[in-house]
């Protein structure tokens, strides 16, 4: 098995999964610099996918009472209130705001999180039933008639996306609206987004568009703008859903340097093999030593 099988750049995940004449890989580019935190994506996702209610409590986490992605939450808008110490970044979209006279102030960070549809998807790799599969669009989807609720994909995901629904036992996550994609429609969240913070399209195009947007923001002085999950050389071979962030990934609850766990699987199997041989050798030694000492005791 070559290295590309487990990690590293993979230009055609759908083709690699056996799809012939696959359409271009579909993706999301979530530009958090224009997110207004309206949660239309959350609502549209819940409505379209008929996801059940999963908690109506207040978290105390700013305007975020959704708390995180899960079995019944496939889009999650994060809200971060930041005190900006000296000077604040103004995005070129809004009217100038003089801010407090002492130069201190607050800023909002809002970001709509979603399943990353990894190029090398750990959930898919470890699924023992074949329930998780790679679609012709290069996305990762759970077949609910196959899933037996073993829960292995849950800790395998480096982003904490997929989850078991307690009342059901099976796992659920974003399908990138596989049903809508099949009908030539864009996913519900992207359709509902009023600011085009969520952009849907062929991944190659989105990557180009995102690179231009970062340049634009840097030119405008928003030097902290950076892309996340766009790089085919990263630990998961690049995400099908990637982001433009205005701070470090962990501020948004994202892992700073995620790695597909199966990258190390060949090494794990090798060590397990050596450990199995050691076990056999230890057992053989345990039977040989008493025989030897008995023999030497007799002579």
């Amino acid at each position: 098995m070559n290295n590309r099988f487990f990690s590293g750049p993979e230009p055609d995940p759908a083709g690699d999964a056996g799809h012939e004449d696959a359409p271009p890989r579909a993706g999301f580019f979530t530009d958090t610099s224009v997110c207004i935190g309206c949660k239309a994506c959350e609502v549209a996702c819940k409505e379209w996918n008929a996801l059940p209610e999963d908690g109506l409590s207040l978290t105390g986490m700013s305007y975020d009472n959704t708390a995180g992605l899960g079995a019944s939450t496939w889009r999650h808008v994060a809200f971060i209130e930041q005190a900006v110490p000296a000077g604040r970044t103004e995005l070129p979209l809004v009217e100038p705001d003089p801010g407090p006279a002492d130069g201190t102030g607050m800023r909002w960070l809002m970001s709509s999180d979603v399943c990353k549809h990894c190029t090398h998807a750990a959930c898919l790799d470890v699924c023992p039933t074949g329930s998780l599969f790679r679609t012709e669009f290069g996305t990762v989807v759970v077949q609910e008639d196959i899933c037996n609720g073993c829960g292995y994909c849950v800790p395998a995901c480096p982003y904490g996306v997929i989850e078991q629904r307690p009342t059901d036992g099976r796992v659920f996550k974003c399908t990138m609206c596989y049903d809508r994609l099949g009908a030539g429609q864009e996913p519900a969240c992207a359709k509902a987004c009023p600011t085009e913070s969520i952009q849907f399209g062929p991944l190659d195009e989105l990557r180009e568009r995102a690179a231009l947007r970062v340049d634009q923001l840097h030119t405008a002085g928003v030097t902290e703008a950076r892309l996340y999950g766009h790089d085919p050389d990263d630990g998961v071979g690049g995400d099908g859903a990637f982001f433009l962030l205005l701070d470090e990934p962990e501020v948004y609850g994202l892992p700073p340097d995620p790695v597909v766990t199966t990258r190390d699987l060949p090494a794990m199997w090798a060590h397990a093999g050596v450990a199995a041989l050691s076990l056999a050798a230890g057992a053989a030694l345990s039977f040989a030593l008493p025989a030897l000492t008995r023999r030497s005791g007799r002579t």
Binding site: A67, T129, V222, S278
Partner: protein
Amino acid sequence: MSPRTTRNGKGREEFVSYYGRPVIKAPSWSAQDIAGYFFLGGLAGAGSVLAAGAQLTGRDTTATALKMSSLAAVGLSAAALVHDLGRPSRFAHMLRVFKPTSPMSMGSWLLSAYGPAAGTAAFTAVTGRMPRTGAAATTAAGLLGTGLATYTAVLAADTAVPAWHGAHRELPYLFAASATAAAAGMALVAAPLRENAPARCASALAAVADFAASRAVERRLGSVAVTYREGKAGTLMRAARGLTAAGAAAALLLGHRSRPAAAGAGLALLAGSACTRFGVFAAGIASAEDPVHTIAPQREAARQRAEHTPDAERAAHTQDAGHAERSERSR
């Protein structure tokens, strides 16, 4: 330091997270089912290895006892695994595919080969029928048993759980040692004194290997190793060390003289092995639930990579400096 950076309660290191929420999701597996399976699978697998050895060297009482315990352990294992499924009625879906990238798929196939072999070995040993089939089944169970005792380490390590994945090189050795300790313990409980020399020897080897592998795990994990030392996992790992050391010492010093001492040593080794598995399981859960254990090692990995490729990463690191600059409007 910018105000979003928080110091965690124990003052370990500074890190940023989203309201302290975990980055990854901890497995929803129940400890009783899955840590229990790690223990029982080890007991069954290593037990079959020792049973094969005992049969080869004419220690028939030990061989039969270990075959019985392996069959019981693998039966309970299968029950625990099915019980832990979200949809137990769909357990047969495990055998829809043969998938080397999924340790759980490999384990399902391993179990479905090992189970009948262990069953046949036990059945022929008890009934005395079909000795040649019994010998073949004993050999097969012994060979497959080495895999059953160690693959569960890969099952745990092939996740994003920091305390497991971070120790993916060392965990198989810890599991092999712990399985051997359990099987040697079972042999000490079941075997007559005249047959228990190999079990005493195995328990000593297993205890030494267990300590060495535990230390290797903690050394590898660095800051994440704290999950093996604190809380529930810390208590279990300390209990495991004490029980394994006491069991091995009693087996070595008294196991050939006193039947009660041998049985007590065996029970201590069994309990020690169970504590190790439940301790590793608890450490994994603790490491998944605290975002610092996900973020800090990844930051460190990124930093080390940046040192190797300074030009590419320098741009990323200057972004924080730009944070403080007042931006100009572009229009």
